[in-house]
Structures are given as C-alpha cells and as structure tokens.
Amino acid sequence: MAHPDQKLSADMKKSAAKKQTTKASRNDFYRLRLYIAGQTPNSIAAIANLKKICEEKLQGKYRIEVVDLLEKPQLAKGDQIIAIPTLVRRLPPPVKKIIGNLSKTESVIVGLDLQPAR
C-alpha cells in the first residue's frame, strides 16, 4: 500500500501541471495521505476504515498514500503532523486534516467533506 514518497511528489507536480487542462476532473478527485507510525492497532484500523469509506463514497476517484513516520520522520514537519493517525486531504483544495483511527464514519465524511456518490 505504501507508496515511495519520491514518486508521490513527482505525481503531485504532474497533477499541478495538469491543473488548467483537467479542472473539471480534478475537482472531484481525492488525493489522500494517511500518516501512521508503525503497524499499531490504530494505524491498521485507520487504513482499513479509510479504504472502506473511499470504496463506498469515492469509487475510482481517489488515491491513498500511506506515510509511515517511523520510516520517514522528516515528513512530519511539512504537513504539521501532531497526532497519529492523521489523514490529510491534499486534493481537492482546501487542504483538510482529520485525526484518529477513522472509526467514526460520519465524522470522516464530514471532515473530508465527501459528497454522497452520485
């Protein structure tokens, strides 16, 4: 599941370049980054909960990156990570952050501002 971060940032650049041309498709595409620290019960639960919610609400319109801070501690500063797990909605703007193991589905939907699947 975990994607190498180099690839991730390259992807980000590409998506920024495509910004103008694919505005419509970008607006309902979700790029999510989940920060965890090792395989703790909360981390495992968060990954599972997130996959489930995305499959239900955002099928085909999302991408999840999982960043394990035990492997890449230097990434914690950039996204101002304090709590673990933290989910960052990098796209669509604005950036949103939610914390916790994502077990409260309603809060996740509100927190990520997910429109019900049309």
């Binding site: 920060y35 909360n42 968060a46 933290t86 914390i99 916790g100 193991n101 994502l102 409260k104």
Partner: protein, 495 residues
C-alpha cells in the same frame, strides 16, 4: 555577564546551567539536568525569553545543542527575538547547535474521528533531537495543544508520556505554561512536573512595574525561596542579586583616601577601608554630594573606575556644582574613569533600580560606587523595601570588594529618620553632616559617627566648602553636647 560564578553547593543532583545572570545562583547551579522544568507565568512575563536564553546559552557556552518546539511563534519571529539578544539563530542552526520546529495547531482544520495519540509530535521531536544530538529541549508553550486537541484525556496522558520520554532520553527540558487563575498553569501542567517549577510574575504597584521570579519547587536541592526581581534588558534576562546565605566576604585591610586630607586624618590618617560601605547623612545643603564627588575624584586620581549613580541631579548639574567648589570632574569622564548614571527614582521600581545598578557594576567592574542619594529611592517605595534592597546591594558590593558611598538626606526635626536608622547598621562608616549656628553664623559641621575596625576621631569639625575645595576646620568644642542626637541639626541649633 559571563562573570557570575554559580555558588557551588554540594549536591548529588547534576545541574544544567542556564547562563542567565543570577538564575544559576538562585537555583544553586542551574536547572535539574535530564529533567523537565516548568516555567509558568502570565502572558508577557518573559517565559519564552527565559526558555530561549536557556537554549542559546546552552548551545553557545556549554556545548549542549538544543531543540525548540515552538507552538506559538514561527521560526522567523523566533529568529527576530533571538537576534534581539545578539544571537544569530540561522547561524546556530547551520552549525547544528540549535533546531527550531514550529508546530502549528489550527483547530478549524482538525476533526477527530476516533482514537489517536501524539506520536506525530514525538517523532518530530525525536527527529530534531537526533539530528543535532540535542541535550536541551524547550516546549513553548505546550499548552497550545489544549486548544487544538479536543480530547483532553488523551492529551493529558500523552503529555505525561512526553515528559517521561524527555527524561528517559536524559534531556534537560523547559516547558512553559500560562498562569491560571488559581493554579500555576491554566491546564495544570504542574501536576506532571515534579522536579522543578519556576514562576515568573510581572506586577505593577503604584504605576511602577517589577518583574519577579520565584523557584516554587526544586526537588532534591537547596534553592533560594524568595521572590527575586529580574530585568529584561538588551542582553536578556538578569535576575537580581541575591542576598547571600552566609556572610563570607573577605575584609580587606587596604585603606583608601576619602578625597579630603583632613578627613583622612580623622580616620587614622588613612581613610576608608577598601570594600567598606560608607553612609553620609545630613540635612539639605550640608555638602553630601560634594563629599561624594571628592571621594569619586580621589578614586579616579588613583586610576580606579568610579560609578556614580545620581537620583537627584543630572550629571551636568553635578559637574557644574562641583566646579564651583574647585573640583573638575570632566577630566575623569574624558579618561573614562568616571561614569555617571542618572535615573529618576520613579522611572522604575526599586528592584528595577537594583537590577540596573547590579548590571552596570557587573559590566564596568568599578573600584568605587556612589549612590547619591538613597533618600530619593524612598519616594519610589516604602522604607522596608529600601532596606531590603540596600541589604542586597551592600552585600553584593562587599563580595565584589567595591568601596561604596551612599548619601542620605535627613530632615531637621526628624531625628530618628527611618531610612537612616534602618540602613546605618549595614554601613561600616557613618559620616554625619549638619548645620549649626553657634553664634548666629551658620556653619557646616562634620563628624564620624562610626567607622568599624579603626580608631577614628570622635571630634566634630567644621566643614569648609570654598572655591578651593573641601577641607575641615578646627575641632569644635561644643561637639559633645551636640552629638547626643544623631545625624540632625536640631539639638545643635537649639543650643
């Protein structure tokens, strides 16, 4: 500033010096090494500054790199703050002496969706500590987390874990906290920190503000328990002197001239002891300042540095007045031997004055200090405060082996003038000046009321102030009746 040497107290507890003038003395060597110290106080009381100084001094002077996790100020702001203390944060970061991590907490961005912990924060801190092999950590102010994290049960257990982690890593840490209404900190951080708690205070009485510092607790070591005044100056915090716990200053036998040959004569022909304190009291216009200026000039003539604090007249006024009695002080100023410091008594609190005096003395290392007059300080405070301040000041001067002269205005008809009475016991030598009109002709009289450790003359002599300077006339015969009342002219005038 680097001159203050912490008094070494035998203790098993290792200490990390803060490098803050005075604080290391109050804490008998510094903060508990490898432990967490809480610094609390209201907004603007100097918590962050104290914490930053601890880090910067640690990095620069004690070879202990430090990490600052700042929850309030961005790196740029922090850099500007540190620059005002004369340190270059960027340079320190580059040399891996210091690392800053700004932790931004935006409540509006954070929704909570289940269980979590603060591992993110831990990882960031651990990462920064590892990167520069830090020995010191500042968390300023960790309480900001309470505004960002809604679940305070999680937060509290995580804070406990954080402090334990710091100790397990043998990091010496300062955690700052905002003062609460009835508790030391708003969120009760003191519950988690058992080793050392320092409280800062900034209060205003009679329109005069004074900052104070108190070591609330410090487990396993002796420490000063008073409230100590402190000052935030150009080079940061300085905590003001300390009443020494013991009287251990060395008494010197060297003698120095009073500046008036005939007055020296009255004191075994040698003058004052070096390192002693001299009180000059007298009613208005009896020549106190002239006596002080002569003493200052004599010191400069010996090549010693003299620091002259004036609370009544401006330096130029003193220079002009002294010219009229044949004393040219300008040359000493030009030579850099005489330093004037003029302050309004009400410009700051008594403790503020003490801090300024202390700081200047520490910087200039004078041989002679003159405070002219202490009376005006009374106007800025009650006489009890004046006494406690003078005790500290006199004590400090003696330890530094500086000879000091204090003038004090007494009032006719108030023979037991309280300040003089309270202060005189601290003084080694007490010279009394007074007016008298024995045959309708007014004259000034001088006698030495006391002078410890020497056989001084008990005669009263006329003090003659003229263009040629100050000198003492013949012994006055009516002295014995007149001296029954100390320091005033009432008795003499009545005769």
């Amino acid at each position: 500033m680097p001159r203050t040497k912490p008094k070494v107290v035998r203790t098993s507890l290792a200490k990390a010096p803060t490098g803050i003038q005075g604080l290391d003395e109050v804490t008998c060597g510094g903060l508990p090494k490898g432990r967490v110290t809480l610094v609390c106080g209201r907004a603007g009381c100097g918590k962050s500054l104290l914490a930053m100084e601890f880090l910067v001094h640690g990095a620069v002077r004690y070879g202990e790199p430090g990490v600052c996790m700042d929850f309030e100020e961005t790196e740029e702001k922090l850099r500007a703050n540190v620059a005002s203390l004369g340190f270059d944060l960027r340079e320190l970061s580059k040399r891996k002496k210091l690392a800053v991590d700004y932790v931004s907490i935006d409540r509006s961005q954070i929704a909570e969706t289940g269980e979590y912990n603060l591992d993110g924060l831990f990882i960031r801190l651990a990462q920064a500590v590892k990167a520069i092999k830090a020995k010191r950590v500042v968390l300023d102010s960790v309480e900001a987390l309470f505004s960002g994290i809604a679940d305070s049960a999680i937060l509290r257990s995580e804070l406990r874990r954080l402090f334990q982690w710091l100790e397990s890593q043998k990091l010496t840490a300062i955690v700052t906290g905002e003062a609460g209404i009835e508790t030391l900190t708003r969120h009760g951080l003191e519950e988690y920190i058992a080793d050392c708690v320092i409280s800062l205070d900034h209060r205003v009485t009679e329109q005069i503000s004074t900052r104070r510092l108190r070591v609330v607790k410090y487990r396993g070591t002796s420490h000063g328990t008073d409230e100590y005044p402190f000052l935030i100056g150009e080079d940061g915090i300085s905590v003001v002197p300390i009443t020494s716990l013991v009287l251990t200053h060395k008494a010197l036998t060297e003698r120095i001239s009073t500046g008036i040959a005939t007055l020296d004569e009255m004191m075994e022909g040698k003058g004052f002891f070096r390192g002693s304190s001299v009180l000059v009291t007298g009613t208005a216009g009896t020549g106190k300042s002239s006596l002080a200026a002569n003493f200052a000039s004599a010191a400069c003539a010996r090549g010693e540095l003299c620091l002259y604090f004036t609370f009544e007249e401006s330096p130029s006024q003193i220079l002009r007045n002294m010219r009229s009695v044949g004393l040219g002080l300008e040359k000493w100023i030009k030579k850099g031997l005489l330093h004037f410091n003029a302050m309004r008594p009400t410009s700051t609190g008594l403790e503020g004055h003490l801090a300024v005096i202390h700081k200047l003395i520490s910087q200039l290392r004078p041989g002679v200090v003159i405070i002219d007059p202490i009376t005006n300080l009374v106007s800025a405070s009650g006489s009890y405060d004046v006494k406690s301040m003078l005790v500290r000041l006199v004590d400090f001067l003696k330890v530094e082996q500086i000879t000091s002269m204090f003038t004090n205005l007494t009032f006719a008809g108030d023979p037991q003038e309280r300040t003089a009475a309270a202060v005189s016991s601290l003084m080694d030598t007490w010279i009394v000046l007074r007016d008298s009109k024995p045959n309708g002709r007014p004259r000034r009289e001088l006698y030495v009321l006391k002078s410890r450790g020497m056989e001084h003359s008990r005669d009263a002599r006329e003090l003659i102030v003229s263009k040629r300077g100050l000198e003492l006339g013949i012994v006055l015969r009516d002295h014995l009746q007149a001296t029954t009342v100390e320091g005033t002219s009432t008795a003499a005038a009545a005769k």
